[in-house]
Symmetry: C2
Subunit: 224 residues, 2 copies
């Protein structure tokens, strides 16, 4: 009984995502959809990115949370532009919510748009929001078995960020094991271990963003 | 469009949960539904509980995961009985899945049944599985703002377990702040800071389980 309903919701969402993708392509905006558990460090990574790349790119964030505008306020404090979407208990963002949030953003000249999804490794994965790539964000405190247990995300993501590596001495987590599980699901997956706390590995993340942005700008130029 | 469908699914689930609750009441089995993020330490707390209380109570677990039977194997290695339910990508357990899992368990003489839900702070909260209480399991690496951001869970839970307190010196987490946010949502909430890694605070958890179990056994005796 549940299946057909879910399928028709996903089909409607895919149509909305295709419209968003066309809009972003026309404007050359690179869009990244951040998916990770609550507390994995999605907002922390965005705060760092705004502080360190704020002079290089024009960036904005759509913040998805069941409640509060805490995250949008954190981004604003880091000098970034953010629109908060409260899902009112809903477990993921979708194309319609992203479309509505765009009403609160000036897209002119924007290089990078981040979508920070609701903290959840399952539901957000199936709802395309017109992004160029999904960023799977896993912290080392969550256990190295997560790619195996939540395979769809790691299968569809372009990059796996392994955050909080400053805590590796205090937890049982093998970077090698997490990477091996994830690569078995997705041979193309980029893997970026880093720490938002001490800054280790952030350069790799910034280079990844530069590549995503350059590729999108190049395609937009060809399209003109 | 989505709302009425969701409502009818929840109503069907509530009916299934009521049947489960009657079955558990008749047999005097105390049932706890564990809800927390991926990697918060739900399985680790169950492993400890089986090792430490295995001689005191007859216990079993229903393990919910999108994929793998890793957690059921971990429980078995700790000397416990576990039935694994794979949701095949689904984001929560529900009464029908729990009912099906019971087919794999001998309920005779069982004192405590744990339901380890899919790692997710949102979706599992709305699906009653016939439990006596929901256990909200939050680890200190996830941030002290989580009760505020995911209020429904903390509103409906009977206890908030704050796990991984051995990592407190390495993260920005205020136990007082987490407790204050959670208590604002739910004045009755028990709060149990503990560490599955070094064993600190586990006694408080075991006392909580003894109280839940004693209350259920007492009610079942009155009912006979």
């Amino acid at each position: 009984m549940e299946k057909p309903v879910v399928r028709s919701l996903l089909e409607a969402n895919d149509a909305g995502a295709a419209e968003l993708r066309a809009l972003f392509a026309e404007r050359g905006i690179a869009v990244l959809n951040f998916i990770g558990s609550p507390g994995a460090g999605k907002t922390a990574l965005l705060e760092k990115t705004f502080r360190d790349l704020g002079g290089e790119f024009s960036m904005a964030v759509i913040e998805g949370d069941p409640q509060t505008d805490n995250d949008a306020r954190r981004i604003a404090a880091a000098g970034g532009r953010a629109v908060q979407v409260n899902t009112g208990g809903g477990c993921h963002l979708d194309a319609a919510l992203v479309r509505r949030a765009l009403g609160g953003l000036d897209l002119k000249g924007l290089d990078l748009l981040f979508i920070e999804n609701v903290g959840n490794l399952v539901c957000p994965v199936e709802f395309d929001c017109g992004e160029d790539c999904k960023v799977a964000l896993l912290s080392v405190t969550e256990g190295d078995d997560k790619p195996e247990k939540y395979p769809l995300l790691f299968n569809l993501a372009s990059v796996m960020v392994l955050n909080k590596i400053d805590l590796l001495p205090h937890v049982d987590f093998s970077l090698e094991r997490a990477e091996r599980f994830a690569r078995r699901l997705n041979g193309e997956l980029a893997v970026l271990p880093l720490s938002c706390r001490n800054g280790e590995g952030l350069d790799g993340w910034y280079d990844f963003l530069r590549r995503v942005r350059a590729k999108k700008a190049e395609r937009a130029a060809v399209g003109r």
